[in-house]
Structures are given as structure tokens and as C-alpha cells.
């Protein structure tokens, strides 16, 4: 991989370390790569204003990923790649794998630099490492963006050391050696396996080493589609999630929860009786309810149902969808005077949504005198460790937090509600516990995406859009999982003035991709009474959906085709290219039967751009098809999604992330929401909360990964949600002739009978055999 041409296409030098150890350990600082210099990044707001450029967008100056990576700079520590005598290369990733495929893409980076087969790279998840501070947070689709260069540098240092060791061993100049298939190969064909070199390549002292990274033109692993390294474990049932771990004596534990959000225990009348139930070992009151521990989870469910608890009111007592909507209306920031020119104006409502993963909140805790050990899938393990230590009254160093593989996250695992509870229960009863939330708990007391409204006003004249204003008003999003520290630390350095953290986050994640004159989008938040959290893509799906619907209205007013309108107003070639690709591949403009239509939308975020074309069928025979206990409704029949993430490390994984995001986008537009009534959410089952199911799945899906346009990968984990939600909404509007303004569109119809709130969990069915098929 060395050659004269490499110099001309710009190899870059980086500093790494070889770490003192018995076998080879190569390391790099987990620091950000320099953001790719784009013309926009060089333009200061003042310069832009002076040049008469319309509303320079903050996201062009600095986006969320820059902040997250920049924040890490002064505090980062080393991440290391180890080569064992068995020839295996190991790496402990300081991030959470929750399905997004980062262990696979990470292994690919190492395989690329070290020229080892992927099967010989073992990627595990690092325990909480407090020294990494906020650099161990999985969020903002930031993992690949922030780890791409450091991991490659560490692997490259290992490569250098292995080559040097082989050179000494073989008596051949290092420059004549190459790595191939996990071995160093001499011109004579002689091979030395890297396992055989692991000790010789080790260093007795820690030293800095300079290496150069190959440009993407030379890649043979990065950028090629690869299946997931954990796929075999997943399909054989061998993949271990938290609840599958066999921690000695960590018996099943559940919590009897209040009938309203965050209600508290007043009194329990039958604790002793419940403790005597079959299989039950313990029952104890904790901060969030009454915990029971038993031989099986089934017996926990029975015990939870048997508890007689009097509850104090919760934090959202008496609140409903309607009352929260009124709060939002009162908190909305003014749009200002209506301009004298024609305008398009609309207000959209986005109801509460659940971010439950299929794996419910769960954690294992073993708290003993003077120490604690926790196992859970955590995206912010350091904050979890600190909070648990504080709760238990232990020094942080006495709390070990193991990050397990997660069964999905969607923002939920940024929080550690179950880990905190498990620690409390274990301390109170003096025994290890394996704590799980019932699905009903997860839906009713779990984190939600806050209800929000978005008011938009766009002014235009002739063929010019003069201004675009968006006022997003939301129930407060709890971002108190560590992201906050980053922004607090950096707020002073950001050109956003004196605004709070969520406003900063909002600004940084919302790009204005269209040339719409003076544009402004502002966030107002109200009401902290709910358990909220970032849900996959946070504000973007709602904000983008509202914007794209208004874009369709603007196009109609100007007598332009929605695709051509977008194409002419998008600001850069990369954006136009991805839009054009989706339109072309999806056959934009083809004749559609009445009641069916196409929709198209654009979304940029995380240094990535995307465009989505959908076709929807809103004909009565489709909408009214029946599936038991289901919401059927309009069917998205086709989706074409084009994406440019700069550099796609694993196109196959990227396609998978887009496919998942599209399933989310369809649900957000059409079917999935929580209904708030009398201080609690009515939903308590997957047959109440209508996430996309097979009967809502598009029959035709095409994901187009655009050729790489950058040396740096952009974010991808959340990217598809916003564009697909918006495209579905636009298609629905065009098929029905009415722009939808409330999401999901079926929210007004309650499609199930709500389950009781006392007891808080439904009984376990007994008729399983009758349904064998």
C-alpha cells in the first residue's frame, strides 16, 4: 500500500503510541479528526452578512458532531488495539452497540489498517471509563465520526510495529514487507503470522509513534459491503443481552409501578403476604415503586399483580393530550408581524411517542458492602456510574459498570433508569438482582418523545422565497445524560449567544438546506413533568416533516413540481445530487392512480445528506384492510432512499440503518403515538403502540448509497427517520388532497381498549397452546 502516488493524493501523518505491555498494544488518543474544510465552514457569520449571503446557517459553521468531537479534545484518553499471541486483534470500543452495527464497522477499520481477516478482529464494549469523561457517550450518530481516525491510527501503529519486528526477524528491510491475511509477508513469500510477532513487536516502555494513514483510494475493506460480525450469534440465539447473562444469584426482579406517571408509594398493605408467595424471595419499597424478587420473572409478575399499594399522585396528575397542547400554545415564541407579501403558514402537532426498544429497560446489579457491580446496555455509562455511586453512597471507583450489548436503543439507552433501580434494590435487600421492566411499565413509565408543535411561516414573491420562519414548541426533552456537559462546556465558544442547552442542541441539529432568504428556527420548551428523552433523531423528524410539507405548499403556490422546486432551491451540488438520484430511481412523476401518490423529501444532518421518495396507497380498500388488533391505514407501497454520508465505511450496514430509520419514519407519520389521559399513557402493549409491523412495511424498498464524496464518514444511525417521515407525510397530503397537520395521522382514533392501571401489568395469558400454528 505504499507507492509514490500515495504522496500525491495526500497521506496524512498522525501520532499514536506503542504502550508498554508483554504483547503488542498500540494506542491513539480518542480525539476528533479535523472536520473537512468546506467553503461554508470558513465563512464567519459576520463575513457572510457582509457578503450579503442569506441567513448563514449555524449548522454550516459547526454541527452537532463537531461539538461532540471538539468537546472531547482536552479530556480524551487512549484507546488501544492489542495483538495477541493467538493472532487475534482485540479492541474495547468505548461506545454502546445497540443494533447500529458499530462493532462491525469498527472491526472493518482495524482489518483495513492491519490487513487481517475480519474474523480475527474481536471488538468488545468497554466498561465505563471515567477518565474518558463525556467521550464515552453513544449518541448524535457520532460514533463513526469521532472514532474513525483514532482507531485507524492505533491499528496503523500496530502495523508499523509488526512490520519492524518482522524485518528484524527475517533480516529484510521493513519497506519490502507487506501485511496480508494476518501475516507479514516477505518478497520471498515467507510469512510470519502476526500472532508469532505479538511479543517481539511489544514495547517495554510507552512511546509516541508517528504513522500515516492511507487515503480512501487505497482501501480494500472500508467502503465495501460487509455482513455483521455478530450475525451468527444473533441468528443462533447465542448473542447475550443483559437478561441472558448468568450472574450468580442475580434473581429475577420487577417493580410494581404507580397508575400515573411518576406516582410514589404511599403505603403497601400486604408486603408480608406477597413475600410468602411461591418463588418470591423479597419485596421492598423503593423510590419508584415496590420491588419484588423471585425465582422466575413469571412469579415476579404474579407478585406485582398481588401487591396492594396506595399511591400518591404523579408529576403529570390530571394532564391530557388536550391540556398539554394548550400549554404548548401558550409557550410558543412569536413569529412576528406578517409580511406584506404572500405567505404560506401552517401549524403542525406531533403527539407523544414512546422510544421503547424491544428489549425492555433492564439491568443486573450486585451491590455489596463497599462496592457495586452493574451490567446494562448503557450509552452514557460514565454518567450512570456517577449517578449510581451517588445513590449508593459509594466512591465512583467502587462502582464497576459493564456495558452489555443492547436490544435496540432509539435514545432509550442514553438513560439508565433500570440500572439505578437495580442498584437501589440490590443495596436494600443485600442480594444481586436481575431487574426487568414489564412491557406495560416500559410503555407507561418509560421515556417518551415529547409532544411538540411546529408553526411555520414562509413568505414568497414571484419565484423567490423571501423568508422562512419555524417556531418549534415542545414539552421539555431531558438531555441530562451527559450530552449536557459537553454543551455547557462549549456554550461560550459557540456563536449562539446566551441560550440554554436544548436550544443549542436544536440549532446545531437543524440545518436549513434551502435557499429561502432570511430563515430562523427557534425552540421553546415547557413542562418538565414527563419522563422524556431523545428519541432516534431527536427534533429532526418533526421539524423536517413540518418544513417539507410547507415546501410542497410553496411549490404548489408557485406552480412548480415538488421535486423540481426542491432541486432549484437546494443550496449545494451534493444535496441536489442525492435528491436527483432518489427522483430518478423512484420514477418521480409517473402516473399514479387516484387515491395513491408519490411524495419526496430532503434532509441533511450529521454531515450527511439524504432524499426520500415514497409512494402511498390511501384508497379505501387499502386503508380499511383488517388485521386483528392492528392499525392498518394507508400503506406505503414503495420507498426509494438515497443517502450520501461522505464516506460509507460499511455500505451494507448503512443500508440497514436506512431501512430501520424508514420503518421509524413510516410509524411516526402514520401510526405510532401515545395517548395521554388523566396523567398516564393509555398504551401498555405492542398491540396498543403501533410501531410499523409487517402489514405496514413497504413491498418495494431501495436504498441507494451514493459514491463516497469525502475522506470522512458522516453520521448515519438516525439519519433516515426525518426524511422518510416527511416524504410519507407529503405523499399522504398529495394522495388525499389535504395536507396532514397532526401526527401520526391516526392519533385521533383510539384503536384499542386501554388496559387497567391497577394492577400495573396485565396477567400472563394461559391459552398459548390454542394458538399453535
Amino acid at each position: 500500500m505504499t507507492g509514490p502516488t500515495d504522496e500525491t493524493i495526500g497521506r496524512r501523518r498522525f501520532l499514536g503510541y506503542v504502550v508498554a505491555a508483554p504483547t503488542l498494544v498500540a494506542a491513539a488518543e480518542l480525539v476528533p479528526s479535523a472536520p473537512a474544510a468546506t467553503p461554508a465552514a470558513a465563512v464567519s457569520p459576520e463575513a457572510a452578512a457582509a457578503a450579503g449571503l442569506p441567513s448563514p446557517d449555524l449548522t454550516e459553521l459547526l454541527d452537532l458532531n463537531d461539538v461532540m468531537t471538539a468537546a472531547a479534545l482536552p479530556t480524551s484518553n487512549l484507546i488501544s488495539v492489542e495483538v495477541g499471541t493467538d493472532g487475534m486483534v482485540s479492541f474495547a470500543l468505548p461506545r454502546a452497540e445497540v443494533g447500529q452495527g458499530i462493532t462491525t464497522s469498527t472491526a472493518m477499520l482495524i482489518a483495513e489498517e492491519l490487513a487481517v481477516p475480519l474474523e480475527r478482529v474481536r471488538v468488545t464494549l468497554a466498561d465505563a471509563r471515567p477518565e474518558l469523561l463525556f467521550n464515552q457517550l453513544t449518541g448524535g450518530s457520532n460514533t463513526t465520526v469521532s472514532t474513525y481516525t483514532p482507531i485507524r491510527v492505533a491499528a496503523s501503529v500496530a502495523r508499523l510495529r509488526l512490520t519492524q519486528a518482522a524485518a528484524a526477524e527475517l533480516g529484510v528491510p521493513a519497506a519490502e514487507l507487506r501485511l496480508e491475511g494476518g501475516a507479514v509477508v516477505a518478497p520471498s513469500g515467507r510469512r510470519l503470522d502476526i500472532g508469532a510477532l505479538a511479543v517481539k513487536a511489544a514495547s517495554a516502555s510507552t512511546r509516541q509513534v508517528s504513522v500515516e494513514l492511507a487515503p480512501r483510494a487505497g482501501f480494500s475493506v472500508i467502503g465495501r459491503p460487509h455482513n455483521r460480525i455478530d450475525a451468527l450469534a444473533a441468528v443462533t440465539g447465542r448473542k447475550k443481552f443483559t437478561m441472558d447473562l448468568d450472574v450468580p444469584d442475580a434473581k429475577p426482579t420487577m417493580v410494581c409501578r404507580p397508575p400515573t406517571i411518576n406516582g410514589k408509594v404511599d403505603s403497601v398493605s400486604n408486603l408480608a403476604e406477597v413475600r410468602a408467595m411461591p418463588g418470591v424471595t423479597d419485596a421492598v419499597v423503593i423510590a419508584t415503586g415496590v420491588a419484588v424478587r423471585a425465582e422466575t420473572f413469571g412469579q415476579c409478575i404474579d407478585a406485582v399483580r398481588a401487591l396492594r399499594v396506595t399511591w400518591k399522585p404523579g408529576t403529570a396528575a390530571g394532564k391530557s393530550d388536550e391540556s398539554v397542547l394548550r400549554e404548548l400554545a401558550a409557550a410558543e415564541l412569536p413569529l412576528g408581524l406578517r409580511p406584506p407579501t404572500p405567505t404560506v403558514e401552517a401549524t403542525f402537532t406531533f403527539h407523544f411517542r414512546g422510544n421503547s426498544a424491544l428489549e425492555p429497560n433492564c439491568a443486573i446489579a450486585d451491590v455489596r458492602a463497599g462496592r457495586a457491580e452493574i451490567w446494562s446496555a448503557l450509552k452514557s455509562p460514565i454518567v450512570a456510574q456517577q449517578a449510581i455511586a451517588a445513590k449508593l453512597g459509594l466512591p465512583v471507583g467502587k462502582v464497576t459498570v459493564h456495558v452489555t450489548e443492547g436490544g435496540g436503543s432509539f435514545g432509550r439507552k442514553l438513560f439508565f433508569d433500570a440500572a439505578l433501580e437495580a442498584a437501589e434494590v440490590s443495596q436494600k435487600i443485600g442480594k444481586p438482582v436481575k431487574l426487568m421492566w414489564h412491557r406495560a411499565d416500559d410503555a407507561r413509565q418509560g421515556r417518551v418523545h415529547p409532544m411538540a408543535t411546529s408553526r411555520v411561516r414562509a413568505a414568497y414573491l414571484g419565484q423567490t422565497v423571501l423568508s422562512y420562519k419555524q417556531r418549534h414548541t415542545s414539552v421539555s426533552t431531558d438531555l441530562g445524560h451527559g450530552l449536557g456537559e459537553i454543551f455547557t462546556a462549549l456554550a461560550a465558544r459557540l456563536p449562539v449567544g446566551d441560550v440554554g442547552f436544548s436550544q443549542t442542541f436544536f440549532h446545531l441539529s437543524q440545518a436549513m438546506s434551502y435557499d429561502f432568504g432570511a430563515s430562523s428556527h427557534l425552540l421553546a420548551e415547557t413542562d418538565k413533568d414527563f419522563n422524556t428523552g431523545s428519541m432516534r433523531n431527536v427534533y429532526s423528524p418533526d421539524v423536517t416533516c413540518a418544513r417539507e410539507l410547507v415546501v410542497d405548499q410553496l411549490a404548489a403556490r408557485m406552480g412548480k413540481d415538488p421535486y423540481r422546486f426542491r432541486h432549484s432551491f437546494l443550496r449545494d451540488d451534493r444535496s441536489r445530487a442525492v435528491l436527483a438520484r432518489a427522483a430518478e430511481a423512484g420514477g418521480w412523476g409517473r402516473a399514479m392512480a387516484p387515491g395513491t401518490a408519490q411524495g419526496i423529501a430532503f434532509h441533511a444532518e450529521y454531515k450527511s445528506v439524504s432524499a426520500c421518495l415514497v409512494e402511498i396507497d390511501c384508497r379505501p380498500e387499502t386503508v380499511n384492510r383488517t388485521v386483528r388488533d392492528a392499525v392498518t391505514g394507508p400503506r406505503v407501497t414503495k420507498v426509494v432512499f438515497a443517502v450520501d454520508v461522505g464516506l460509507a465505511v460499511n455500505p451494507r450496514g448503512l443500508e440497514a440503518q436506512m431501512m430501520g430509520g424508514i420503518s421509524d419514519g413510516i410509524a411516526l407519520a402514520l401510526t405510532s403515538s401515545l395517548h395521554l389521559r388523566d396523567g398516564y399513557f393509555l398504551e401498555a402493549s405492542w398491540d396498543n403502540y403501533f410501531y410499523t409491523r409487517q402489514w405496514n412495511t413497504p413491498l418495494d424498498l431501495q436504498v441507494i448509497v451514493m459514491p463516497s464524496t469525502s475522506e470522512q464518514p458522516g453520521g448515519a444511525g438516525e439519519l433516515a427517520v426525518a426524511g422518510s417521515m416527511a416524504a410519507v407525510a407529503c405523499a399522504y397530503g398529495r394522495a388525499t388532497g389535504t395536507m396532514p397537520t397532526t401526527f401520526p395521522i391516526n392519533h385521533g382514533t383510539l384503536s384499542f381498549t386501554p388496559k387497567p392501571t391497577v394492577p400495573p401489568v396485565p396477567p400472563s395469558p394461559t391459552d398459548g397452546l390454542d394458538h399453535a400454528r
Binding site: V98, G99, Q100, N227, R228, A231, L232, A234, V235, T236, G237, K240, M243, D246, P252, P278, G279, E295, T296, F297, G298, Q299, I301, A357, L358, E359, P360, E405, G407, G408, S409, M436, R439, V627, A656, M659, G660, I662, S663, S685, W686, D687, Y691, T692, R693, Q694, W695, T697, P698, L699, L701, P762, S764, P765, T766, G768, L769, H771, A772, R773
Partner: protein
């Protein structure tokens, strides 16, 4: 405590547990067979889908006392052995299509898929879109499209 005897993945087992404990917890908490996952406990999400005498069932809804000594429970762990191979063709199809994301739903998805293909074959037909639309298993990672592709692939070699 009462004893219950049945077969799991080709082996006779006897467990000492209350009559009404659901099979899911007998498998997971007592026998340590963790392939079948909990996602709802009320026969809705289908994450626990396993086979009873070759048909798809949901162990979260089966009291252990309902099982007879001759009943054969197959979980994802025992699926390959039902065809005497290292991997069942459906698992291979899942690998080819790279279906799994977090993977939590996938044991249940695969077990449901195998039962579906067998049922459709017994009816002398091939899988239709309507058959696939009828699968109730939740995948919160949204892998539905690849699941459909994998089932069609897997069915070809079953």
C-alpha cells in the same frame, strides 16, 4: 413442588416448579435457555416464539403444566438439529441477507418464519405477500424488508 417433564431441543427434562409458571420462564430462568426473548409477556410481540411439536407457539402464554412428557419444545438453539445440520436453511438465509440489527427479535422471527414456511408448504403453496403481512413479530429496529427477503430465500432451500 410439582415436577413437570417434557422434551426440549431433543432432550427429556424435568423441572421442579409451580404449575402455572409460563414456559418462557422455565426455559430462561430455570433451564438457562435464553434464545427465546421476553418482549411483552402477553403473546403480542412474538419475541419468544418457539416450536411445540413443530408448530409455532409463544411460551410466555403456556403454563408449564400444559406440557406432556412427549411434547417436544424447540427453541432457536435446537432449530439446526431439526434438520440435522449446523445451521437451519432459514438461519443461513438470515445470514445471507444480513437481517439482524440488535438481534433481540431475531430468534423469534426465525422460529416464526420456519413454522410459516412449513405451514404454507403443507397447504401446497408458496409464500405470498399476504402471508408475510400476517407475521406479527415486532422488530423495533425495523428490519422487516430484509426479513421478507430472507424468508423467501430460506423457503427455497427448506
Amino acid at each position: 413442588m410439582p415436577e413437570h417433564t417434557f422434551r426440549v431441543n431433543g432432550e427429556q427434562v424435568t423441572v421442579d416448579v409451580a404449575d402455572d409458571v409460563r414456559l418462557l420462564w422455565v426455559l430462561r430462568d430455570i433451564l438457562g435457555i435464553t434464545g427465546p426473548k421476553y418482549g411483552c409477556g402477553i403473546n403480542v410481540c412474538k419475541a419468544c416464539t418457539s416450536h411445540l411439536n413443530g408448530k409455532a407457539v409463544n411460551p410466555c402464554a403456556i403454563p408449564v403444566k400444559d406440557l406432556r412428557p412427549s411434547d417436544e419444545v424447540t427453541t432457536i438453539e435446537g432449530l439446526p438439529a431439526t434438520v440435522g445440520q449446523e445451521l437451519h436453511p432459514m438461519q443461513r438465509a438470515w445470514l445471507e441477507q444480513d437481517v439482524a440489527q440488535c438481534g433481540y427479535c431475531q430468534p423469534g422471527q426465525i422460529m416464526a418464519a420456519v413454522a410459516l414456511v412449513n405451514r404454507v408448504a403443507a397447504e401446497g403453496r408458496t409464500i405470498t405477500d399476504a402471508d408475510l403481512d400476517g407475521i406479527r413479530n415486532i422488530c423495533r429496529c425495523g428490519t422487516y424488508v430484509r426479513i421478507r427477503q430472507a424468508i423467501r430465500k430460506g423457503a427455497e432451500s427448506m
